[in-house]
């Protein structure tokens, strides 16, 4: 232990610093878990969604509610006229039903067709009441519920959050640490020793590659035990994608930090890099929602191929050999930023 290899010594020093900082551990390791928990609960697949509807309080409202209550689909509130307007306007209810007589001869529906789900609510209510009034279905229909493994929202979310964690961890873990060292004049101090510059940069990336694994494992284990998120693809392929993704963002972290002299500058730059990817690359919802002309651009952003590849491997159980495009984009992002950073890096001040 007397004289260590400089790359190992630098990596070890960085690992020690990191693990001795409880707040850094929290943000890197537990924040993503918290995200899965909150979003997983918020968007969990409910057994069947209840539809909020209102029935206007009058002499005949009982005739409607008695039929609708039989079906468990509806959450019924009986309201007076004034309240009904208020609730429709604010979206607390999708539909207002007014019964005009006691024997289901005439009914009014009031709703805003622009509000998602309102037309569906109207049709569901109408069908229930029409049947109650004696209408017969003429076609025999059968419902088959489709549920593919890995098709729930939380299954979709976890690969996105994994990739987001790689991005945040790489940029903050490498970028912030370097600018901090520059401010503390430690970089300059190192430059007055025979330390090799590439050794330093490689060590910064290596240390990131080491403390990324607990982050990944904690998130996967948590998602498995709490939400039953399973991995359908090949473990080794997934590990390879994660490793490549981590190298990518460690390199981008180096690049972002290569010239910045204050923490404000580097934070700004990191947000500039991360914000578009948070919104565009499909962490929380598919980027297919964006107009098609943007897709080629989105697919070349560094975050997209990781998310796409992880979803293909984890959720769909596809083989890594179907992911050449993603692997190619990731290889470019893993190599180019590192060398650009090496070229423009500010060492001495």
């Amino acid at each position: 232990m007397q004289t260590q290899n400089p790359i190992w010594a630098l990596t070890l020093a960085r690992l020690r610093e990191f693990t001795r900082q409880p707040e850094a551990l929290f943000w890197v390791y537990f924040f993503p878990v918290l995200m899965v928990l909150v979003l997983g609960v918020a968007f969990r697949n409910k057994p069947q969604e209840t539809i909020a509807i209102d029935v206007l309080q009058n002499d005949f409202s009982e005739s409607v509610t008695s039929h609708l209550e039989e079906s468990k689909t509806f959450k019924i509130t009986v309201v007076d006229e004034q309240e009904s307007k208020q609730r429709l306007r604010t979206g607390k209810t999708l539909l207002l039903i007014t019964a005009n007589d006691a024997s289901l001869q005439s009914i009014d529906y009031q709703f805003d067709p622009a509000r998602p789900g309102s037309t569906m609510a109207r049709n569901d209510v109408d069908q229930t009441l029409q049947r109650a009034a004696g209408r017969e279905d003429v076609i025999a229909t059968t419902n088959v519920e489709f549920q593919e493994p890995g098709g729930r929202y939380v299954d979709f979310l976890v690969p996105g959050l994994l990739a987001m964690g790689l991005m945040g961890g790489g940029l903050w873990g490498v970028g912030f640490a370097i600018v901090d060292m520059r401010i503390r004049k430690v970089l300059k101090r190192f430059m007055a020793t025979p330390m090799k510059r590439t050794h330093f940069l490689i060590a910064m990336m290596c240390s990131r590659l080491v403390f990324m694994w607990p982050q990944i494992i904690i998130l996967l284990v948590f998602s498995y035990f709490v939400f039953g998120v399973q991995i359908y693809g090949n473990w080794l392929s997934i590990a390879l994608i994660i490793l490549l993704g981590a190298i990518q963002f460690a390199g981008i972290g180096l690049l972002v930090a290569s010239r910045a002299k204050t923490l404000e500058t580097v934070s700004g730059l990191m947000n500039l890099v991360m914000l578009p990817m948070w919104t565009l690359c499909g962490i929380f919802f598919s980027y297919e929602n964006f107009p098609e002309i943007f897709h080629p651009f989105i697919r070349w952003l560094p975050l997209t191929p990781i998310i796409d590849a992880l979803r293909a491997l984890m959720n769909e159980g596809r083989s890594i050999t179907t992911l050449w495009f993603e692997l190619g984009v990731m290889a470019v992002w893993a190599v180019v930023p590192f060398f650009v950073a090496l070229l423009i890096f500010r060492w001495n001040d």
Binding site: Q2, R16, E17, K185, A192, T193
Partner: protein, 319 residues
């Protein structure tokens, strides 16, 4: 071979207007010498030392270190020098031992971390995190990081600035052991007593130039007389008859800095009684009076008409 030789060293920072931090510096340091660079903030001390440490490129002129040039032999020079910068904040959450191991890993040869600790008396703090160290201990650790590669030439940029007197004295003792081991030391400081005590030779920097160079004794002798009498009066200093005072026997020079007067004198006991009687004849009362041996501070005052510690920087020091 000289430990350091620099010729016509110039450093100009681009800008509008360009900042001339170093404006033509020449000096040589012999192997085994402790050389002091003394001067106020902004005199170009740090810029000069950082050029010699290979951290800055000179705009023009040449800097040779241990007989080698930075442009061709940078790596070999770095293996053989040790550096303590003015303000390095080492990682707070690493221990003394871990920090020295890290620095040691950069050098092909050197001391063990424990040997380096022993040289600065930090063995007791071996496993303490840096954040728990006092200012003096941190500074000693910074010096230990400079020693761990077992350098022939040690650069110490203001090693005692901001330290309490005890810590300062501890560092002086450490630097004195380097001298006994006949290592070459280049030290910058703005404390004259530090330079007087430690340095074989001193260069006084002001506004990017060397304004005096020599052993501390030579420089002090150059002031003319060996004692300084400093006084002020409880009236407008402009009314003091300077000519009258300079006529006193053995008074070499009378200078006024702000409200105080400085007399450079040969025989203070003769001058004092004369001075007091002359002032009372001018019906002026003393508000302060002190006498002392001339120091490097007086050399600086003598040369520039300003005090060392509160001299306004004329040229910005390294940004």
């Amino acid at each position: 071979m000289k430990a350091i030789r620099c010729q016509d060293l110039v450093k100009t920072y681009p800008g509008k207007p360009p900042v001339e931090a170093v404006r033509g510096i020449n000096f040589e340091i012999e192997v085994g010498e402790c050389y002091g660079v003394l001067g106020p903030n902004g005199a170009g001390k740090t810029t000069t030392i950082e050029i010699l440490e290979g951290l800055l490129d000179a705009t023009s002129g040449s800097a040779e270190v241990l007989g080698m040039n930075w442009s061709s032999d940078g790596h070999s020079i770095r293996e053989r020098i040790g550096v303590s910068l003015q303000e390095t904040r080492l990682s707070e959450r690493l221990s003394v031992n871990e920090t020295l191991q890290l620095f040691r890993s950069f050098y092909a040869d050197g001391l063990t971390p424990l040997e380096a600790m022993a040289k600065v008396s930090l063995e007791e703090k071996k496993d303490a995190w840096i954040k728990t160290l006092s200012g003096g201990q941190k500074q000693r650790l910074a010096v230990a990081t400079a020693l761990v590669g077992n350098p022939e030439l040690i650069f110490l940029d203001e090693p005692t600035t901001g330290l309490d007197p005890t810590s300062r004295r501890q560092l002086w003792e450490i630097i004195e052991t380097f001298k006994r081991e006949s290592k070459t030391v280049l030290l910058t400081t703005h404390y004259m007593e530090e330079a007087e005590r430690l340095c074989d030779r001193v260069a006084i920097f002001d506004a990017g130039k060397i304004i005096a160079e020599g052993t501390p004794q030579e420089l002090i002798r150059s002031v003319g007389a060996e004692h300084i009498i400093e006084f002020s009066v409880d009236a407008d200093p402009a009314v003091v008859d300077v000519h009258d005072i300079s006529s006193i026997d053995t008074v070499d020079k009378v200078e006024r800095l702000d409200d105080a007067f400085y007399l450079t004198v040969g025989k203070p006991h003769v001058v004092l009684s004369e001075l007091i009687s002359k002032l009372s004849r001018q019906s002026l009362a003393l508000s302060s009076l002190s006498t002392r041996h001339a120091s490097l501070e007086d050399v600086f005052v003598n040369l520039t008409g300003r005090h060392l510690l509160d001299a306004e920087p004329e040229t910005a020091d390294a940004k």
